[in-house]
């Protein structure tokens, strides 16, 4: 009976997984493209560093704190006008990707900043003493030295995004969380509930294990 139910639900499950992968993929891509540079900017504009700029630094800091202080579910609703503007719709995985990206960018930026802070200030100074330009220092010193931390940050962002994406069902975003709510919660369908839990647990374990592995390979300390 359960097995039969499982087989009939399989197409729904794969579709939901596909939607989750789509939403999470897009927002992770934006987090990498925008969040990492923002994290670097946050770091190098801080006091005593080579791009020291209090205005840029405090503005960024303030904006990031605002986004991060909102629970995702509220952000999701609050950003409906923005979503409408960008995707011309407010339902579906593409629409959910807008809020997910907005949440992921400052999240990753903060993690990147934190991992950059672990670089000894003396090393950055040594790079400056070599006569290196700021971009050279970012590419050849800051990024490689912070790489293990950035990989850990990406792992954490990815896992948080999968968690956030479950809420996307609220605005008709689809995905695996949506599936669990619709069947497991509204229809008391325990098979679907357990199925989604197992799938999520496996996915998260695999992501974390891979993240740890990559971070360890990158770490030459």
């Amino acid at each position: 009976m359960s097995l039969e139910r499982f087989t009939t639900m399989l197409p729904d499950l794969t579709k939901a997984l596909g939607e989750t992968a789509f939403m999470v993929g897009i927002s992770l891509a934006f987090a990498i493209l925008i969040g990492i540079p923002l994290g670097i900017l946050l770091f190098i504009t801080d006091r005593g560093l080579f791009f020291q700029n209090i205005i840029i630094r405090s503005t960024l800091d303030f904006a990031i704190n605002i986004v991060r202080s909102l629970p995702f579910i509220i952000l999701l609703v609050a950003l409906i006008p923005l979503t409408q503007f960008i995707t011309k719709t407010t339902i579906g995985p593409a629409a959910a990707s807008v809020s997910l990206s907005v949440a992921a960018i400052p999240f990753l930026a903060r993690l990147v900043e934190t991992s950059l802070r672990e670089i000894p200030p003396g090393l950055i100074e040594a790079a400056e003493a070599c006569g290196a330009k700021p971009l050279r220092i970012i590419i050849s010193v800051l990024l490689p030295e912070a790489l293990p931390g950035i990989i850990q940050g990406l792992t954490l962002t990815l896992i948080s995004l999968i968690g956030f994406s479950a809420m996307a069902g609220i605005v008709g975003g689809g995905g695996i969380g949506d599936l669990a709510i619709r069947f497991g919660y509204y229809r008391y369908d325990n098979v679907v509930m357990i199925m989604t839990i197992v799938v999520l647990v496996v996915i998260i374990q695999v992501i974390q294990a891979l993240g740890n592995r990559f971070a360890r390979v990158a770490d030459k300390r």
């Binding site: 000894p120 003396g122 090393l123 100074e125 040594a126 790079a127 400056e128 003493a129 070599c130 006569g131 290196a132 330009k133 050279r136 050849s140 010193v141 490689p144 030295e145 790489l147 990158a218 770490d219 030459k220 300390r221």
Partner: protein
């Protein structure tokens, strides 16, 4: 040539101004190994970092090879830094990059063509004695090897000046000597001007031609290393020299020794032994050496001896007067008739 003129550096900490440097005037010549010695907080590190613009003075001017650092743009400051290498106490290597890549970083900073990298890296690893370590990561190297990588990186763009910020303070004594030998060799072979700061008088003694002694943000004495050891003027300098030449006679031995016990310090031209043997002949007294230490600073002997003089009181006193005239530092430790 590097020139500091009326340099002051003021920090504000907890709203009270602190003078890190106070009216420092100093000239360092091309090709010399110049030491700056002082306790931590004496301002030596700040002074060193003025040379490559890591610090800027509150007032006064720093001139490096004719370039006034307070007037240069960021771009020309970067260009100047290619001519001034620097090494650090904690090496400050890029941990995630190999030895070759660490050296390559300095080459990239200077805009050297990639095709020239392998040749330059090979030359530099050979120069510092690190052949075969090109693909090694810093974490797999010993402290001395890490500092060699630091030196190779600092010399990558053929600088005329090398700044050493407590470069041997994190190393064991044997490795310290090896690194100092390497620096001495680089100075002799490449004509590299080396400016090093340290709190260890032994480092100064090993390789410096001239030395500046710093205390509380001021340069209290500048002289050749030999002069610093033989005729220290300032109390701080004397303290350093004393620690380098500290010898202590055990109390029991001192009490058991008859006659006059004197501590005599001698320098180059007249060594202690030759003066003493002359005194023995001239005054017919017995001299026995109880303790002593002889050092060579830039190949000139310098030392301290504790000896006892025995014989007829008159002769001993005459010998003492004569010795005082011959050697400039004599101290009577014990006078038992």
């Amino acid at each position: 040539m590097i020139e500091f003129a009326q340099i002051t550096k003021q920090f504000v900490r907890d709203r009270t101004p602190i003078f890190a440097l106070n009216d420092v005037n100093l000239t360092i010549e091309q090709g010399e190994i110049f030491g700056i010695i002082g306790e931590s907080g004496a301002g030596k590190s700040t002074l060193l970092r003025l040379i490559n613009g890591l610090e800027t003075p509150t007032s006064g001017t720093v001139t490096v090879d004719g370039t006034n650092l307070s007037r240069v743009s960021k771009t020309s400051l970067r260009r100047l830094r290619l001519r001034v290498g620097m090494i650090f106490q904690h090496f400050q290597l890029i941990q995630s990059r190999t030895v070759a890549d660490n050296i390559a970083f300095a080459l990239k900073a200077a805009g050297v063509k990639r095709s020239e990298f392998p040749k330059r890296i090979q030359e530099l690893t050979a120069l510092v004695g690190l052949e075969g370590f090109e693909t090694t990561y810093p974490s797999q190297l010993s402290g001395g090897q890490k500092q060699r990588v630091g030196i190779a990186r600092a010399l990558a763009n053929n600088p005329s000046v090398l700044l050493c910020d407590e470069a041997t303070s994190a190393l064991d004594p044997v490795t310290t000597l090896q690194i100092l030998d390497l620096l001495k060799d680089l100075n002799a072979r490449l004509g590299l001007t080396i400016i090093l700061i340290t709190h260890e008088i032994d480092v100064v003694k090993q390789i410096c031609h001239r030395v500046a002694v710093m205390a509380h943000g001021e340069v209290v004495e500048v002289a050749s290393t030999y002069a610093i050891f033989s005729q220290a003027q300032h109390p701080v300098t004397k303290h350093y020299v004393d620690t380098a030449l500290q010898i202590e006679l055990p109390e029991r031995i001192l009490r058991a020794t008859p006659g006059k016990v004197i501590r005599l310090q001698f320098t180059g031209e007249k060594t202690g032994e030759s003066t003493l043997s002359e005194a023995i002949k001239q005054f017919d007294i017995a001299v026995s050496i109880l303790h002593g230490k002889v050092d060579y600073i830039q190949d000139v002997a310098f030392g301290v001896l504790i000896v006892s003089l025995t014989g007829p009181t008159l002769q001993v006193n005459r010998a003492l007067t004569w010795l005082e005239a011959q050697l400039h530092a004599i101290e009577v430790i014990q006078d038992v008739a």
